[in-house]
Symmetry: C2
Subunit: 292 residues, 2 copies
Amino acid sequence: MRDFSTDHRWLSINTATVRRQHGTEVPLPEIIEACARHGIRAISPWRDQVAAAGLDNVARLVKAHGLELSGYCRGGMFPYADEAGMKAARDDNRRAVDEACALKAACLVLVVGSLPGALAGKAAHKDIQLARNQVTDAIGELLDYAGSMGMPLAIEPLHPMYAADRACINTLEQALDVCDELDPMRSGALGVAVDVYHVWWDPKLKAQIARAGKDRLLAFHVCDWLTPTADLLNDRGMMGDGVIEIPKIRRWAEAQGFTGYSEVEIFSTGNWWQRGTDEILSTCIERHRSAV
Amino acid sequence: MRDFSTDHRWLSINTATVRRQHGTEVPLPEIIEACARHGIRAISPWRDQVAAAGLDNVARLVKAHGLELSGYCRGGMFPYADEAGMKAARDDNRRAVDEACALKAACLVLVVGSLPGALAGKAAHKDIQLARNQVTDAIGELLDYAGSMGMPLAIEPLHPMYAADRACINTLEQALDVCDELDPMRSGALGVAVDVYHVWWDPKLKAQIARAGKDRLLAFHVCDWLTPTADLLNDRGMMGDGVIEIPKIRRWAEAQGFTGYSEVEIFSTGNWWQRGTDEILSTCIERHRSAV
């Protein structure tokens, strides 16, 4: 396993980690400059942040600072209640691929969605199997487009507590079943994003990471699971502050040949989002060395 | 599948559903009398409620009202940080078996526990595999005792969001792996409690219910998953108010020959626990007929 203790060359910052300060949005260009100032070599920005700053502007800033994108957040939200919804999701995901290409991202991360309307509190139906079928079909279709553009798609299995509203792919095994179905030859165009927050609890995690193998391990995300966890979405912990055995999971991934970035993605309304960008980044660097 | 639409003879009330009113504890004898008044034939009480009311007293009341116990809540919390913790858990679980026998419960439900100390916010370690090994060993030991007393043990896989602090058995597949290991001959002494809240998201649920079969399906619990869910523990919904396809899951269980009670277990600080016992029970009866 790579030694992270002496530098942070394999640290990437998912820009959600520093996007809010005391309730105010921090513009992406500021985040990029802060990361560069801290010697951070990679980021993973969100589409709405990129849109607000302008795609060309962001591409220019990323290049000027010599940054890489460990991923681009995010495509997905595929399930639909009607034809118009299907078309809107397809078009939007193609645009996400285009943007990821413009930014030279390592992959487009897919948060696949689930019951249409559930995220707004009003599910159009309860048939999660239907949502899963729509997701598989939509990824298959997007794969043709993304493959032609050379942009790998990384399915991110989300914690089962998001199964109703954010993603109906909830285990690494399930994500890899989709990969096997859509890309049986392991072309490299389709794989998974392993976020320890979503998968740490899974008794089959080690076996499924081995099943994924190097060619399907496209991204590795870290944060920590706090006890207690105060909120289902926005109470993620800094690495080392919770109960996830992050180094053990990283070892499993690296045993398969994974050599990419360790991307920090923390949503934290009550704690980290109440602090300044420099403090958060300094802490990420320190914990990357000591707890990842 | 049994027709629940015309009566509620297969409704059981987990007494947690009505144990609090506006922050005040409702004594178990009051709950028992309310259930009897509503023509409910079965309950599943909690150990602390039984202790507060007195085991003999509760046994007498249950008998006087002709109630059955669809289960007894709960044994488990097996993982330990030291020898004393191991012994305390073992002794306490044997007492739980004794109480379940005194009350003639259909099974003792096991919420198996996870990282020692995590429920109090201070995990003694992060090694969930160690906790899982301790759980399997402890169930194996308890099985000898419970088997000799004729009390079936029902492992309840808990939602993965409780993996750190409440239960390190998080899928039906994992629970059945433990059953296979400890009771390969399917003696009937060890099985599972399927609570739709904990397992509804699982893409392998149908297959694992079939794997369980009639002899391992010892209990069936219902409530609903709300969108949004405001709290990890105490924001469970009334059947029909959320996104779980409860009848579909019940059909899968009954296709295996399950003929037991449908036990309503709702923890709801913000909604149901702010209402009166009669209103809650009436709603449970109505939803049992229309949404289960």
